[in-house]
């Protein structure tokens, strides 16, 4: 992507056309936002939205009042609150776009209702709980022409874009093996004093409302695999179980996957909430080197001894990682000077960056980089994985 402006690159990615004629929100004014779901992740997005240029949160919605109250602190209090998202869609004429961060089983229905109410949609993955739901989301988007973006924040991160450049330019050769891991020792259980709220607050633990580890972190990693390698898993070997948190939950606390992709590419994926060793990382191994990204924050490249050396490598910063020396992936170091303003923006938090791009997509009538197709393909792959574990 070096030498190519980010917007040009994004335009080049457009696959699904969206109509621009009926776009709400003008070039000049702010885009009114309604946030549906103000739990942990909803609040994270709400916090980022405070910094997004051209976005104005005007309403928030959650059925659990304490969530609404803590969200109000983030907005500074100056928004209307709702417990029924349909009422919000109906009453809030100033809401042109919604952010959906609710339990998985509500994503598709809320996305469809929102688009049919004329709102643009930013929805956290998964797109739906099954393929039929995903199909209905696609149908609603095509029917309404609204922007639909899915929350794959890595696609908006300067670090990941930088790593993507390296991989796609052949710097680490043919990628044959990928290790993807998300580990954290954490029960995922919320402390619920009043048992009437158990299923609502602990929605992540039940199959009716959650696709579990695969539907949360797994989906992001599958999308990353598809983005970086251009390949979607075909063969799936999967194991999982409830080995530690035997507290009545239905979703697995650990899942291990071996995914076979076209061209002999294999990916190991480990998702685990019983052990935190090495946390989360993504490792792409090629014939000329490897790229490692840890905790979505830092990246390194390890060159094979027989790989040809590029001129820039003599200037690159290095550091020891384990018992090897690696080149630090520095998104700032290789970008063009005239793009400086853009780079400074890009280096912002990837959640902030994805939301900023959502606003720009609405204003420009552009298809998001993480849109329907990316959401659909990753969700479809995740559903196949879940089916194979069962």
């Amino acid at each position: 992507m070096r030498g190519v402006k980010r917007r040009d690159f994004l335009k080049g990615m457009a696959v699904i056309p969206i109509s621009t004629g009926s776009m709400a929100g003008s070039q000049e004014g702010e885009v009114g936002i309604g946030v549906i779901g103000t739990g942990v992740h909803g609040k994270r997005l709400l916090s980022q939205l405070q910094k997004v240029k051209g976005a104005k949160v005007v309403a928030i919605c959650d059925i659990y009042e304490p969530n609404l109250l803590s969200a109000l602190e983030i907005t500074g209090g100056n928004v209307r609150t709702y417990s029924d998202y349909r009422k919000m869609l109906e009453e809030e004429k100033g809401v042109q776009a919604v952010i959906i961060a609710t339990p998985h089983n509500l994503h598709a229905g809320m996305s469809i209702d929102s688009m049919r109410s004329g709102k643009h949609v930013f929805c956290e993955p998964p797109m739906g709980m099954d393929i039929e739901e995903c199909d209905r989301v696609i149908e609603a988007q095509k029917e309404t022409g609204r922007v639909y973006q899915i929350g794959f924040q890595r696609r908006y991160s300067a670090l990941y874009r930088h790593a993507f450049d390296f991989i796609r330019s052949g710097m680490i050769g043919r990628v044959g093996l990928v290790h993807l891991q998300w580990h954290k020792r954490q029960s995922w259980r919320r402390a619920v004093a009043d048992q009437r709220w158990e299923k609502v607050l602990n929605w992540r633990l039940y199959k009716d409302s959650s696709l579990g580890l695969v539907g949360e972190y797994g989906l992001h990693l599958i999308d990353l695999l598809r983005w970086f390698t251009g390949k979607t898993p075909e063969k799936i070997f999967a194991l999982g179980g409830i080995d530690e948190w035997r507290d009545g939950r239905e979703i697995y606390d650990n899942v291990e996957l071996l995914l076979g992709c076209p061209g002999g590419l294999r990916a190991f994926v480990s998702l685990n909430i019983t052990n935190s060793y090495r946390g989360d990382f993504e490792l792409f191994m090629g014939t000329k080197g490897s790229i490692l990204i840890a905790k979505e924050q830092k990246g390194w490249m390890f060159k094979e001894a027989d790989a040809p050396k590029s001129g820039w490598e003599t200037l690159a910063k290095r550091e020891a990682v384990g018992d090897e020396t690696a080149i630090i992936l520095d998104a700032m170091a290789t970008k063009l000077v005239e793009e400086e303003e853009m780079i400074r923006d890009e280096l912002a938090n990837s959640f902030q960056a994805e939301l900023q791009d959502f606003i720009e997509c609405i204003r420009e009538g552009r298809r998001p980089e993480a849109g329907l197709q990316e959401g659909y393909e990753a969700t479809k792959a995740a559903l196949r994985i879940i089916e194979s574990i069962s």
Partner: protein, 290 residues
């Protein structure tokens, strides 16, 4: 913050306590994500990159913390200052490579330090740095803020008794049955010099040397390294204030500390002396010397 947080929770249902504790620690992680000086994706890093010429829209809670930090800076006569990073860099403290700067380096760094270098607009929820090169670090107040946010979660979950420790140096006991906290000799950390009972109170301790024994506190008013006092513990209801003041009191002299405590009810400072005795300034405490 780069530090570990610990919680001790008391109650009858271990599963409930664990879940509540996890939620509180997740809140600490979110604070770290937002306040970190080192993570490029944090909001503070973003402000440091983009604050000049600005203005930047900042999340209301963070803006309020910055605004409060600037207020504490004014109240302590500049002894606590979130803009002091250029001075820390001069002495190699930020990079953990101690060095002695030239006088002109300190003079230049001081030009970038002070609450007047930042303009906060609470109505517009924005801030801007008035000069290129100004930066903020919330390292001197962030632990207290994270402890406070974690405490709020535990209170919402109606935890009856809990103590939260940010790196062992900023500790808060939820209002309830009270907790006894030991204060150690900064030079011999295995030796306890006093025990204090706190209930709905925070205690924060700062020392002039870091874990490797290197001086790491700079007086933002003069730019000089602070070596006189070994450590101070500050007790007050608010962990945010306790954290900030424990840094400020290290560089303030005893008269300044006493004057501050007279004008701010509910604040106490404890200075352990090399002889093993402790000197207390400010409000009365439930304190036993060991």
């Amino acid at each position: 913050m780069k530090t570990s947080f610990e919680l001790v929770l008391e109650g009858e249902d271990p599963s409930y306590l664990r879940s509540a504790g996890e939620e509180a620690l997740e809140e600490v992680e979110r604070v770290e994500e937002q306040l970190s000086f080192f993570l490029p994706s944090s909001e503070v890093s973003w402000i440091n990159r983009m604050g000049y010429p600005g203005p930047l829209k900042v999340e209301p809670r963070l803006l309020s913390l910055i605004s409060r930090s600037l207020q504490i800076c004014r109240e302590t006569g500049g002894a606590f200052d979130i803009t002091a990073t250029p001075l820390l860099s001069c002495w190699g403290i930020t990079e953990r490579r101690p060095r002695s700067p030239k006088e002109w380096e300190i003079r230049r760094a001081l030009e970038l330090v002070g609450p007047d270098k930042i303009e906060v607009d609470l109505r517009e929820r924005s801030l801007r740095f008035k000069r290129d090169g100004v930066s903020i670090s919330l390292g001197g107040i962030g632990k207290g803020y994270a402890v406070w946010r974690a405490a709020k979660i535990l209170e919402e979950k109606r935890i009856e008794s809990a103590v939260i420790s940010g790196g062992g140096s900023t500790i808060y006991a939820l209002k309830g049955k009270g907790w006894r906290i030991g204060i150690v000799d900064p030079v011999e950390p295995k030796r306890r010099v006093a025990v204090i009972r706190i209930d709905g109170m925070a205690i924060s301790t700062s020392s002039t040397v870091d874990g490797d024994g290197n001086p790491h506190i700079v007086d933002p008013r003069t730019g000089m390294i602070c070596e006189g006092v070994r450590s101070v513990s500050v007790v007050c209801e608010d962990p945010v204030m306790a954290d900030a003041l424990s840094t400020a009191f290290l560089v303030m002299d005893r008269d300044e500390v006493a004057s501050f405590c007279r004008s701010h009810e509910g604040v106490a400072a404890i200075f352990p002396s090399p002889s093993g005795r402790v000197e207390r300034i400010g409000m009365d405490l439930d304190l036993e010397e060991v």
